[in-house]
Symmetry: C2
Subunit: 363 residues, 2 copies
């Protein structure tokens, strides 16, 4: 068991256990478990048993898996259910699932009766490293992802590493993107550990590796809980990632998109003369084996890079690395970025060719 | 011009002007005015002109008047509009209208991109005293009023008293309920001022009277910003009020419902042997001339008084007054409350009889 305190306001904590839910301690007398269908089927009864042993009155609210649950309709449905169950201010919501369900459940907890307690039990590596820590919650609207949300710190995020062995290997490797990113940003040993041959759900060092990834994020959000400064560095790789997700209507999963996005951002830094991390980001893609997609024209990316049309002319904001552990926020012009896209596409075609020659058994 | 600083986190302020919007100072370069139809027609162009003079880029988002705007659908529509306008984190929402539109607009501001700046320009007396101060924002779901929301302090609430003369007299008197309530809770001179003959939009002391009402609320929320204690006293009269609103599907307007609710709570306190304020609350009803409604059976009220079904057996929580300026929170049993309902109904029948004999010209 590892415990990582999080000094936010209110304080939070992350617990990591090899194969148990028992370290999840809910202080409120009643809770609703907001779970996605898959997670509920696989882990619902074990989680419920563990909570019942502690005397908690818990019920479930099952939502669709993936981004589909982050809609206004599902948001309203969760609230209606809580009201029908006569939930009061001293109740709690526990999310069980990936990052999407934790975003939805956290936003519902932030807003039901203007805020009730929130706990999260992530079931994907991605959610363990990213969504479970930091208090960012959100839903989507037709105009874009995560446009509506709140900051709401979970009282506890409990990581049961045992659930990772129930995931397809590709989903585990998608999640490794955030782990690797945190290593690149702040912890060389961590990024090396991810690239070690055989890194996977059965890694004997998994607990300390996940703990290291969580710790990087915890330190950043402690210093910048509302993303006014340093926290933006955690978006390394996310500018292209969000564009690819939107352009492919999420056919490229988030972890894969971040893997691609990190390499793209590394190449942008390299072209601007910063310390080169692109060999590392390419090595990660080689490990990750992300799903290929139809490479868009550069022009199709422009509107996604220019999030605020009024600042378009002065350039786009990118998180870049000036060598490992040296993140910077930089405004880059379209003219600086466009040539990088060709190099990036070449790298990807070569990578996909190589991966297609390997046996697809590990996917 | 009166300025009342509000020491919340972040700090807020209330400005009160006799007949101008010019004291509203928005720091952000862009803003959306979320206005209800009526308020927009009456005051939209004057507010826009005042903002444009200061160099603000402002657009409008018009929503239905009254509770109809506090729906998930309107909430989503405001967000979509903000996204279509490419609003970024350094923009603001200004609400223009009554309490309902300020609840909706404030909740949208609390959640768009996880929170942008909020300003409010109340156009009813009720909203000036109540909704514009304190940061409580919310929307409704079919299961109940204000069940989904957030705490989000406005940077500034600007009160232009001139708008009150455009309201029907009955709407002004509805708003006087919160003013009178604040007087009862903390300021004898204020409750006397409301009961003075001729109190209305043209009262030469209106600015200082409204300032006194706002100040009572400001002092309470400064000490208890998230309603964990003392702030609950502001709910004096609201237990019955919410029940009447729900039972009549809002045919009884909020201000009238609070007028009724204060008298009911006063009678409950009187029956429990507390200092009697019921002559004052009856005098207020005599001033207010609230709209009659079909008096329900006591049993119909029970489910509304018992907000948490699990605590039903141990009684209902009421805010009571042990004489003027002595609010207390008390658990009362159904057996203690039921006989009061008959006395209350008798008082109302007498009041309505008397009012029906008066000319209805002032309504």
């Amino acid at each position: 068991m590892t415990t990582i305190p999080v000094n936010t306001d209110p304080p939070s904590m992350v617990t990591i256990a090899a194969n148990s839910f028992s370290a999840l301690v809910v202080s409120e007398p009643r809770a609703a478990i907001v779970a996605d269908e898959r997670a509920w089927q696989l882990h619902g009864s074990a989680l419920l048993r563990s909570l019942h042993i502690r005397g908690l009155d818990a019920t479930s609210i099952v939502v669709p898996a993936g981004e589909a649950c982050k809609s206004l309709v599902e948001f309203g449905r969760v609230h209606s259910r809580l009201a029908q169950l006569n939930f009061t201010r001293d109740t709690a919501i526990i999310s069980l699932g990936g990052g999407a369900v934790s975003d939805l459940a956290g936003f519902a907890a932030a807003t039901f009766l203007r805020g009730i307690a929130f706990y999260t039990v992530p079931t994907t590596l991605l959610a363990m490293i990213d969504a479970a820590v930091g208090g960012k919650t959100a839903i989507n609207i037709p105009e874009g992802k995560n446009l509506v949300g709140a900051f709401h710190q979970p009282r506890q995020a409990h990581v049961n590493l045992g659930v990772l062995s129930t995931l397809p290997p590709a989903v585990f490797r998608q999640g490794a993107a955030e782990l690797f990113k945190h290593g690149l940003l702040a912890d060389d040993a961590l990024s090396r550990a991810v690239l070690r041959p055989g890194f996977g759900p059965a890694d004997p060092d998994l607990e300390s590796i996940v703990a290291a990834g969580v710790t990087v994020k915890v330190r950043v959000i402690e210093r910048d809980p509302r993303e006014t400064g340093e926290r933006a560095f955690l978006n390394f790789g996310h500018t292209l990632a969000h564009a690819l997700e939107a352009l492919t209507d999420h056919a490229v999963p988030h972890g894969d998109a971040v893997g691609y996005g990190m390499h793209f951002a590394a190449l942008v830094g390299w072209r601007l003369g910063l310390g080169d991390v692109s060999p590392k980001t390419l090595a990660f893609l080689d490990y990750q084996r992300p799903a290929p997609f139809v490479l868009p024209e550069f022009d199709a990316l422009r509107p996604y890079f220019a999030r605020d049309k009024k600042t378009d002319s002065s350039g786009w904001r990118f998180v870049l690395l000036d060598g490992a552990r040296q993140p910077i926020l930089r405004r880059v012009t379209p003219a600086e970025v466009e040539p990088v896209w060709q190099k990036f596409c070449d790298d990807l075609r070569e990578l996909w060719n190589e991966h297609s020659r390997l046996a697809p058994s590990a996917t």
